[in-house]
Amino acid sequence: MSILIAEDTAFQRDYLRQLIATELTSEHALLEAEDGCQAVEVCLRSRPALIVMDIKLPKLNGIKAAKAIWNEVPLSRIVFWTQYKDEAYLRELGKIVPGETVYGYVLKNSPDDKLTQALRAVLLDEQCWIDRDVRGIQSRAGSREAGLTDVEYEALIDISLGLTDKTIARRRYLSERGVQNRLRELYTKLQVDIEQVADPKLGHTYNPRGRAMLMALKRGLINADELAEEDEKLKRWLAVEVGFKSKDER
């Protein structure tokens, strides 16, 4: 297995190589590409387990390279490592990332441990990892005390509002796989999985979404007022989103 570093400055390639070797893994061979075309070539030939992709690349930019790679190998896991901070990047990436894979997005100015976290999440935990500096991530002190991360709390809100996986993916710029994996983490933390009773005739007795809400209510992680407020936020988001949804359906 290998990891591909697609980055045009030698200095930053060295930085990544060193960080990956010391903080992530020494088992993977490290491959390098200096432009987008090379990145696509190497990916199709070597099928790396992870790709760290700069966006501003010569010949073919990192987004177009990612599109070409995902076209051929939809399971490719890509962590974008970039100076671009506009939320539009997440919005558009969320639309082109294949549902069955996960991806990451980290700003280049981030401290080492943030980049390490992102690489680990995508490579080892199969989770989407999105820099909170690029999009505001909701957080709530109470949920953190209960052991939920901010993104898990966000997932809890989303299922409490009755959103489907697809809609959560669009709203939070994730892939569907990313949503499912995040929900699985949430169910584990809320102990929905431990409670699950399997019956030979009925199969699983609980729908985990509804059950997770009950557990969260019991622990005071959500309440009616809060959800009403969240519902308003959701409506505002939908108001803007509906504009291009009708276009997508054309």
Partner: protein, 235 residues
């Protein structure tokens, strides 16, 4: 206004594309040089702060943390200027995402924030069929129109609509403010002049009119309308 002769248009187009190339170069330098250096400085300061072998006084620690914060602010500012010089979203994703991003930025940046409305009834293929000059001109004109809309008094929402009308691309930027106040007209005249100039170069028509509550569901307000042939005739 009489249409400008073709050789004059060509000359001006050439001039504008040189200016855009220059901006692109500047943006690339900000990205490759300044942002790189800021990142370096920030990493080094962090390492100093996190080094277990160096004993630092509390005061020094807080100074270092302040430096990191300052560097981050400088990087954000450099990113903003970079995006202004050359819309990277346009290069990375294309015209529709770039326009959408400009709309959302303008809505979020005005005080108080405006509600953005987006209505797109042309395909991405149709938009991508426009030449690079046309795409950039449409983007710059819309960007300026959005900035102006944000300044209109009492606007609550801002709308961007793209549709096909008789083989033409019709781009409308509308707000539901109190129209163009005379004081702003003079202040904006340079921006408006720029927009007209850019429109002329791509043989598009541009006009301002009072809103009719159409695209934006607005109650008055101002509409900026740009029309551009989708099927370009050669020569």
């Amino acid at each position: 206004m009489n249409p400008a002769p073709q050789d004059l248009i060509d000359g001006m187009l050439n001039f504008v594309s040189l200016a855009e190339d220059e901006r692109k170069l500047l943006a690339a330098e900000l990205h490759d040089e300044l942002l790189c250096d800021l990142r370096e400085a920030s990493l080094m300061t962090r390492r100093l702060l996190e080094d277990e072998h160096t004993e630092l006084r509390a005061e020094t620690r807080s100074h270092l943390a302040g430096i990191i914060e300052g560097l981050e602010q400088a990087a954000n500012e450099a990113r903003r200027i970079m995006e202004n010089l050359r819309p990277s979203v346009l290069d990375s994703f294309g015209l529709r995402p770039a326009l959408e991003a400009a709309l959302r930025r303008a809505a979020a940046c005005s005080v108080p924030p405006l509600l953005p409305r987006l209505c797109i009834n042309v395909t991405e293929e149709e938009l991508e069929a426009l030449s690079e000059e046309e795409q950039l001109a449409v983007y710059r004109i819309v960007q300026e129109a959005l900035t102006n809309a944000g300044k209109h008094a009492r606007a609550r929402s801002i709308a961007l609509s793209l549709c096909k009308d008789d083989e033409q691309l019709l781009v409308q930027v509308s707000d539901d403010g109190s129209g163009l106040p005379s004081s702003l007209v003079s202040e904006q005249s340079r921006g408006m002049e720029n927009m007209r100039f850019r429109a002329q170069l791509i043989r598009a028509t541009l006009c301002w009119r009072a809103g009719d509550g159409g695209a934006a569901g607005a109650r008055g307000g101002t509409v900026v309308e740009l029309r551009l042939d989708l099927k370009r005739k050669t020569g």
